[in-house]
């Protein structure tokens, strides 16, 4: 290789490298745009376009309708309204925290028993028997003018039962 060839070989790449860099940069931008578009199509929020009844406030009835020490199921809102023996309210998501099965209330045994993998929860939603990893999720309960309302927009995850979770009139 002659000296001139050497010089060319060392000079030429700077422009070539720049152009290759531009191409790669544009490619990355194009790829990012593609991902953005695909993701915006997959985004979980897109079902807002399709009407979605979830996430509304359920007016479940007057305070007196629920005796202390009872559990009432609300199919529509997918929750149980629990009135503890001391008169406090809890709204429990009916979905098992293990794999998402629907948990029925077994009144005779005073507990929730998941049919799928035999997780058991007590009346406050706490795990009596695994494999469920955490207590049943909560929905927010509000009591306004003696009327009980449950907001089912966001299930609240919790590590354990805490007296502050109970809503009192």
């Amino acid at each position: 290789m002659s000296e001139r060839d050497n010089r060319q070989a060392s000079e030429a790449p700077s422009r070539r490298r720049f152009l290759i860099g531009v191409w790669i940069g544009l490619g990355v931008v194009a790829l990012a745009e593609l991902f953005w578009i695909v993701f915006s199509f997959l985004r979980p929020g897109r079902q807002r376009m399709v009407r979605q009844p979830a996430g509304k406030v359920h007016v479940v009835g007057p305070l007196e309708r629920f005796e202390p020490g009872t559990v009432t199921a609300f199919r529509e809102g997918k929750f149980y309204l629990v009135r503890l023996d001391d008169g406090g309210f809890l709204a429990l998501h009916r979905q098992c925290t293990h794999l998402g099965c629907t948990v029925p209330w077994i009144a005779e045994q005073e507990r929730f028993a998941c049919p799928c993998h035999a997780s058991v929860f007590d009346v406050r939603g706490e795990v009596l028997s695994p494999p469920a990893p955490r207590p049943l999720d909560l929905f927010q309960v509000r009591i306004e003018n003696g009327i009980v309302k449950v907001d089912t927009s966001v299930p609240v995850k919790r590590a354990g039962f805490d007296p502050s979770q109970v809503v009192r009139a």
Binding site: L42, R43, P44, R46, Q47, V50, Q52, A54, R75, K78, H98, L99, G100, C101, T102, V103, C114, P115, C116, H117, A118, P130, P131, P133
Partner: protein, 464 residues
């Protein structure tokens, strides 16, 4: 035949002239020369070689499993296209449209039955194909990358099966998909987000059906066809399937070749027709099930994942979710992908089970796996409870790390025994370990499918 081609065509009838214009070569071959010409000159057959090594076309060398997979894919695409004309992808209409297909459409149950049985069979056939490739060592160079392509195809098949499982929207499909997507939530950090993306929302509904339907009918078929093309092309580039002779016997000798047409083609057509007959009989005798429409308020007891994912649901009963859903599957996938790229001192391929040593080690692995897994399941169900023994330790340690370390220890001990007692080399040891792990997984799957009853408690199949 040469004289045939020289004949003036102007006087021939129209049909003969049109036929000749489509198939200019000899249509009914009478000599080997004609057969070569046909393979070379037709669009479909030119995908195949003109000659193949005589020893590789013996049926018991491959059992025609790759070709059977292709036949099943073609049947699935044909019946699937028909089903798409009837199906309505929404939570309100899905179950009704399938029930209407079963009730009102001529041959509707048969077409759906063929689709159902092909879908179930392809999981089995593709797995057996993987096993054949593995047990004849056909993943070493030059076939390394084709092993990866094959794994991609396996992932496509499983995705297609799982997304199709939801579509009839009966109780079984709704709750199976609930459970499998419920497993996704255990993935650390991104689990909840990933679950919402797959379900297209917090719960399974119309958006989920649309997601699954699009993946099932568009995305996966496109990927499947593309990767199948790559897969077949790489087989050609590798010079066909691995020959059944030992490498030592192969060297220096030119293999004997036979013509593809008729020797291999006739065998393939025979396998395809026999498989089609089996599928038809299955579809007629055991029609595809359709239960009650999905009811989100009522989980059936027991609620099970699709059978090909029951191994993972069974794992969940024995391991902490982090291990059952994340660690063990990831290690499994990584191990499968790196299998052809490990360093083997003796990369054996050719005969089934590689060698006599390999055969004996494989038999031991199968025996150990079949013996040890039920014992593991029973001990875990009735005796061993590390969480109660070490109550102060986090469940990730007691139900995850501890049993995992015990199992890895057992597997390491097994490979040590195989090396020392049988004098197995790298290839034979890896083969024995693979068979051991696969046996454990298969026994887990069978336990979940047949021996789990109400509340996922152990029971006999005839009691549930």
């Amino acid at each position: 035949m040469a004289s045939d081609r020289e004949q003036p065509l102007e006087n021939a009838p129209l049909i003969a002239r049109v036929w000749k214009s489509i198939f200019p070569g000899p249509v009914l071959p009478t000599s080997d020369r004609d057969r070569k010409w046909i393979v070379f000159n037709t669009l479909l057959l030119h995908l195949r070689p003109i000659r193949v090594p005589a020893s590789t076309i013996r049926y018991t060398h491959t059992f025609g499993l790759g070709g059977m997979s292709l036949v099943l894919v073609l049947l699935l695409m044909g019946t699937g296209a028909l089903l798409m004309f009837v199906y309505e992808p929404s939570s309100g209409g899905a179950h009704g449209s399938i029930a209407g297909l079963e009730r009102d459409v001529l041959f509707g149950p048969l077409v759906r039955g063929v689709h159902y049985w092909c879908a179930n069979l392809i999981v089995v056939v593709v797995t057996l194909h993987l096993l054949r490739v593995f047990l004849t060592g056909a993943f070493h160079a030059p076939r390394q990358f084709n092993w990866i392509v094959g794994l991609t195809l396996l992932a496509c098949v499983l995705t297609s099966n799982f997304t199709g499982y939801l579509l009839p929207w009966d109780q079984r499909s709704y709750w199976a998909v609930t459970i499998v997507t419920g497993m996704v939530e255990y993935v650390p950090v991104v689990g909840g987000w990933l679950q919402r993306v797959i379900r297209a929302g917090p719960e399974i509904g119309t958006s989920t059906i649309i997601n699954f339907y699009t993946i099932h009918t568009t995305l996966v078929p496109v990927l499947l066809i593309s990767f199948m093309g790559l897969h077949f092309w790489r087989v050609r580039k590798a010079g066909g399937v691995v020959p059944p002779e030992r490498p030592a016997d192969r060297d220096g000798q030119r293999p004997q070749y036979v013509l593809f047409l008729p020797h291999l083609l006739m065998r393939e057509v025979a396998v395809a027709l026999a498989l089609f007959a089996v599928v038809l009989v299955l579809a007629i005798v055991f029609p595809a099930p359709l239960g009650e429409g999905a009811n989100p308020g009522m989980s059936p007891n027991p609620a099970k994942a699709p059978w090909y994912f029951m191994g993972f649901q069974e794992l969940l009963l024995h391991f902490d979710p982090l291990f059952a859903v994340v660690v063990i599957p990831l290690i499994g996938i990584a191990a499968l992908m790196f299998l052809p790229y490990l360093r083997y001192c003796d990369p054996l391929d050719g005969p089934w089970f590689l060698s006599d040593t390999g055969r004996r080690a494989a038999a031991l692995a199968l025996g150990v796996g079949v013996a040890i897994t039920p014992i593991w399941v029973l001990l875990d169900e009735f005796v061993v409870d590390p969480g109660a023994w070490f109550p102060s330790v986090s469940p990730v340690l007691s139900y995850g790390v501890l049993p995992f370390v015990v199992f890895v220890g057992l597997a390491a001990g097994f490979s040590f025994v195989v090396r020392r007692r049988f004098g197995a080399g790298d290839s034979e040891t890896v083969q024995a370990l693979f068979i051991l792990l696969l046996t454990v997984f298969v026994v887990f799957t069978l336990t979940g499918v047949w021996f789990r009853g109400t509340g996922m408690a152990l029971t006999w199949p005839w009691n549930s």
